[in-house]
Assembly symmetry: C2
Homo-oligomer: 244 residues x 2
């Protein structure tokens, strides 16, 4: 099995037949943080791990839902189709975040959005019955799941507000700062860029307008190219612009 819900470029990288939760680098940050890996080993074995290439789809809007997806690395956008057929990004899931959780809580049968990787992304696929299994013997876990959901909704509504108020410069600085991955933070602050078109979709402007601002950032050396789709950030200056 090298493919999952995605139509393209999704590779199963599950370690020895199941995800290695015990040694997972981001476990302390996700909604499974408080789950006892030894006690629930049999359940956690059902978690599989996938690598999604940039632009590949994790799940499709309206497709049947039977699992949630934890982002281990990378970035995923969730977009909805509007009545006029156009799409709009309604949420962005970063490292440690979960996509599709609402379908589990709502007993929904289908995903509400299409999830697409904005960067090369690693994801753990957690089937519903893993969560259900943990809840059955540990009802308090339900609260942890709810809490996580709430946290996400808060975060995403804040993101929508941040990305849609203030000048375009400010908004784009916010988008760029979002790309900074705390876990991968290093002295140089090298970031994987997302396509200009996605930045445009996030901020609600045209890609030309985004390009003009990003070009200006480059000229001012707030951004410096360091490799394919890689940039060095002047974090301090970007934060100054974002908050001004």
């Amino acid at each position: 099995m090298t493919k999952n819900h995605s139509s393209i470029k999704c590779i199963d990288i599950t370690y020895e037949g199941h995800a290695d939760c015990q040694h997972c680098a981001i476990r302390q940050n996700d909604f499974l943080a408080d789950v006892d890996v030894v006690k629930y080993e049999h359940l956690l074995k059902k978690i599989s791990q996938f690598s999604y290439a940039k632009k590949s789809t994790v799940f499709f809007e309206k497709s049947p839902a039977d699992a949630v997806f934890v982002v281990r690395k990378g970035l995923v956008k969730l977009e909805e189709t509007l009545s006029d057929g156009s799409t709009r990004i309604v949420r962005v899931v970063r490292q440690g975040g979960v996509a599709g959780l609402e379908t589990f809580l709502d007993n929904g049968q289908r995903y509400d959005q299409t999830a697409i990787a904005l960067q090369d992304t690693e994801i753990c696929r957690v089937p519903y019955n893993v969560i259900k299994g943990v809840i059955t013997s540990d009802p308090d876990f339900y609260k942890a799941v709810l809490k996580e959901w709430h946290r996400q909704i808060e975060a995403s509504s804040r993101v929508v507000v941040e990305f849609s108020t203030g000048s375009l410069k400010q908004r784009l600085a916010c988008v760029l700062l979002m790309l900074i991955n705390e876990a991968n933070r290093n002295a140089l602050l090298e970031i994987e860029m997302i396509p200009i078109e996605d930045m445009a979709a996030l901020t609600g402007v045209t890609k030309e307008s985004v390009s003009r601002v990003i070009s200006e950032f480059k000229r001012c050396e707030l951004l410096t190219k360091s490799g394919p789709h890689k940039m060095l950030f002047d974090e301090v200056s970007l934060r100054k612009i974002a908050e001004k």
Copy 2:
């Protein structure tokens, strides 16, 4: 008792000491729809009903939370204070909607937003222990509550998207159409207007820009004044503008 959480103009209009759930006109539309009014009469008696004057506050951000609020009539905005001290409307609750539900599900102790009536509004205050009581003897009700929460979040994210994409004309047409209250719908389609400043906050522009567009709508007779804060709508034309 004539005041509640609000600092101004909130009148208890509870009927004979408790809300008259059995004859409530909107019960079929809210999250309590499936609750057996006879079986839970003792609990539902704890629900009280209030009338909030325009601009009065239903609850304050960060204040202790012990109840959820069902909007029976009118319109309520939920706003959050941003880091720079400014506020932004993050959700609008219409007839049949619930405010504050997230604090219940999350076991949160405080409200995340400030809720302010945009029109003269009637609200049922449902204490936590009413919901808890129903869930205790009818665990499936929990799912109904979750479903309602999900429905709300969906609706509000869609609203945020609608109000922040497209031309200002389109966005304002969407805002106006939101004011149409299905339950009060009549041939003339008379609507209670909300202040221009709030329309500006919803669409993320200045009040002058809103005023220019609204004035143009009036000149084109898409809107016609019919009383204090009352307008007749040309619904068909407004929908055309909203979707174009």
